[in-house]
Amino acid sequence: ALLLAAAGAARADALESLRDFVREAKTGRAAFTQTVTSPDGAKKKASSGNFEFSRPNRFRFEYLKPYEQLIVGDGQKVWIFDADLQQASSRPLAQALGSTPAALLAGGSLDKDFNLSNLPASQGLEWVQALPRDKESAFQSLRVGFKGRALAAIEIVDSFGQHSRLDFNDLATNVSVAPEDFKFVPPKGVAVVE
């Protein structure tokens, strides 16, 4: 792994940090806040929750505020559950994962799915740009921000120009994660439609 020099750490280049992250971080857990900014910048919507992943392709976005929603990637399917609406739906992983932020964090085929390049540092983070290779992708670009070697943020710009930024605070990697966190069992009485 990257040997950090005694004095100042060698300035980690973000792309290297991302490759190290994908190679070394088998699991991870962090609280996150999400800020969605409308294309004209006028409207902002904040939400927050907990994120966990276990490579490859298992991840969990558990939104708690302002309302409960759950996105679970169980390795085969991606489940979305809305507690208020009592509705769960799922899509095959391949369809859903491809070039989503989850693929970046929990996937194993970075270069296959994305065209990667370093960006200038900004807002105190070192950034990598990930352009989806799949032209059908619902995203224009993804940007991953590092604080030193720690993954700190992901920004999604969708095809409408809407920005969604997820800030992870102190993402702990290679922590023990419960396998059932990546399984979705629909609560009794909830209609599930594939």
Partner: protein, 156 residues
């Protein structure tokens, strides 16, 4: 006392929407849920659907005689909202009426039968019993049955 200032234009409704179409003949059951923001009314307006991760799934804009649907896959024009909803859901759904129902009121374009906790229109049963806490239920019984559940943000 003074009416609290509405933080948002009167005809903007935002929240989350779940639609479920039952299986029928060989068509499988289909469902979709998304956050929505709705501006305007049945005649003229815009509806935006967003995924939990905050990305826009689709944007529909309509005015008399024209309805435009934009998704990440491209754009399509229809003559009406109902034609557009058939494209989006594969099942003609009275999207124009749904827009008025989401405001908690019947659609002026069809007769309405008032009920204790809502009303009935065009074979759809609209339950407003919990509209006070932002919940709207709409159910079409005619096959394939369609269920719509909406949860309106209390302060969009």
């Amino acid at each position: 006392c003074a009416q609290p200032p509405r933080a948002v234009a009167p005809d903007v409704v935002a929240g989350r929407l779940a639609v479920q179409v039952d299986a029928f003949n060989e068509a499988p059951a289909r469902s979709f849920s998304a956050a929505f923001e709705l501006q305007g009314n049945a005649e003229r307006g815009q509806l935006q659907l967003t995924s939990p991760l905050g990305t826009v799934l689709a944007r529909a804009q309509w005015m008399p005689g024209q309805a435009l649907l934009q998704t990440s896959q491209g754009e399509s024009r229809d003559s009406s909202l109902d034609a557009l909803s058939e494209r989006m859901l594969g099942e003609p759904m009275p999207l124009a009426a749904l827009i008025e129902w989401l405001h908690g009121r019947p659609w002026p374009g069809a007769p309405v039968q008032r009920l204790a906790d809502g009303f009935e229109q065009m074979g759809w049963r609209i339950d407003l019993s919990r509209y006070g806490d932002g919940v709207l239920l709409a159910q079409r019984s005619q096959q394939p049955a369609i269920g719509v559940r909406a949860r309106l943000d209390q302060n969009p």
